[in-house]
Symmetry: D2
Subunit: 189 residues, 4 copies
């Protein structure tokens, strides 16, 4: 049994999403210590405080999945130099209701990919400050601004580009070490 | 007939939204030069590129309303130190499809209110950088971080607090002057 | 005589600065309408409110140069995903003393170059929100994230890469059009 | 002997700085587990890569002090909705030279005070994303946007306002717990 469960939140659900492809590649890099579970976010309604009294089942499921995770990996596209509405919406639901933030204290990390020149750098900058406010304990380094090309992912869904593979394996390894640090402290407390 | 049409985008639609109340108060401050029209955004689906080929009617309506406006006033709550998913979603739809950004070149301004201590300051900081990327020509000063209290809005929906009224009238006046500058240049071009 | 004076602020003064080289290339792209003047910022002391009562001559000179400019072009490196201390310091001095912001109402634009993968994207995101607060009227599009390579600048200091040259000429042209819009309105007021 | 040494970095050195006063008050709240040491930053020269080959003694001292600290507390004013040039400059020096970032892996927290309405909220938002990039492991909650009034600090330099005192004691307590988590992991590694 894996020591840690990592919830994976992907900011795009369009067909052929390159961040979804990257996420699937990343989930193969954890080794025996980590079990990755992608959290479904596209059935959450648009956040509206009026829905909070009786939230739909999708909201409860999402919150429970966050709470069950030992760490959270965010895989983000960049829209207009920020995160997607889909991702921001998931963050809103998970942080609420007031005083019951499901994200509190969880270790987190960010990766993003784009075929464009700045490689989600502005989206990640914004996401860093957002996740901190949600009381997620981020490990930012090494930053992962992944350039998407047709060769990045192989036919088996694994990261095929050797240089990217090695870098991202190191990134995920450092993140899992960080999950271990924070999870151990949570258990002790 | 008013010289300028100002589209108003409000980041919250919950019942009793304080930013909706503020927006209604602001729309009374324009004088004869400006006609305010609130743009409906809560019937836009969650943005997904797969919907772009055949977007729902609400999307077309929203884009047409943006294009018809001489200026855009954003009234924003703050969620988790950023804008609401609802507002970010409207920005995504308006900016697309690629190469057909409805916001391009429009003069814009931001106001926000909160009952909390930082008064939407972090949301506005993020929104400034977002709107610039959408090619909205912002006038930021004077910044309007409105503290919401029960006395802010009177029973007639107007801004009742005298100090806030005078400040916000000045803010809206400066924004309309700015709309005139940018609109004149657009006509000349 | 050129119609507009454009003050150029470069965020690095190290020997061989690639942003300085880019700035020199950009200053050749203005055509007859624009005269570029680089503003010296490396003789400004570190900002400290205690120095405000009797600021050194360099501060007065810098403020006068800003006031004399019809527009401001910022050429920024990226340090640790933000602007340089040198640039932030210049912004502080120019914005003060309280109530006497030299930047107020000036049209502005941003360009940046880096040899790294994200091409100053995070620095520019931060600078956008900063400059708005200083009451600079930004035109953000087209965004200019310039990849620096040895071929970018020719031996004569001009932008040698043809694709970059054409793109940046368009960027500068749009900026000068924008300066014209804002400057005309300022004269009329 | 205290278990942890906390380096305190204050973003202003003007006479009568309210953030300096707050920092002194905060340093009394640590209890027996923490020894606070303010790190001097106003003798660092303006960062310039040309100085890196032979940095002045002040730079070496600052870097050694960071390395010696078990945690870092940042007390920040807000200038133009961002941090001060003085603080950004200290971050630059500490993060360099390339590959030798003194901040790497240190637990950190942010507090700020202002007499104005938004209470350093925008400065802290920017600082959060900056510190993450420096590989500082931040604990953001509870956020501390301290309203400065004449009654905040007593004649003995302690935090006199009872409500603020209790809140900030809790903030510092949570930070020290966080320092313990990260420091234990560093020792184990």
């Amino acid at each position: 049994m894996a020591r840690f469960t990592i919830g994976v939140v992907v900011g795009s659900v369009r067909k052929g999403s390159i961040n979804q492809k990257l996420a699937e590649g990343l989930m193969k890099l954890g080794g025996p210590d980590a079990e990755f579970r992608q959290l479904k976010i596209d059935d959450l309604p648009m956040f509206n405080q009026d829905l909070e009294a009786e939230p739909p089942a999708s909201v409860e499921r999402f919150r429970n999945e966050i709470r069950a995770a030992d760490g959270l990996l965010f895989v983000t596209p960049e829209y207009n130099r920020s995160v997607t509405p889909l991702l921001l919406n998931a963050l809103s639901w998970g942080s609420r209701p007031y005083g019951h933030n499901s994200f509190a204290g969880k270790p987190g990390a960010i990766v993003g990919t784009s075929a464009g020149v700045i490689r989600t750098a502005a989206a990640q900058a914004h996401l860093r400050t957002l996740l901190g406010v949600l009381d997620i304990r981020l490990i930012v380094q090494p930053e992962a601004y992944v350039h998407f090309t047709d060769d990045l992912i192989g036919p088996d869904g694994a990261i095929a580009d050797e240089k990217q593979h090695d870098f991202l394996k190191k990134k995920i390894g450092k993140f899992i070490d960080w999950v271990a640090v924070v999870a151990a402290a949570r258990k002790a407390a």
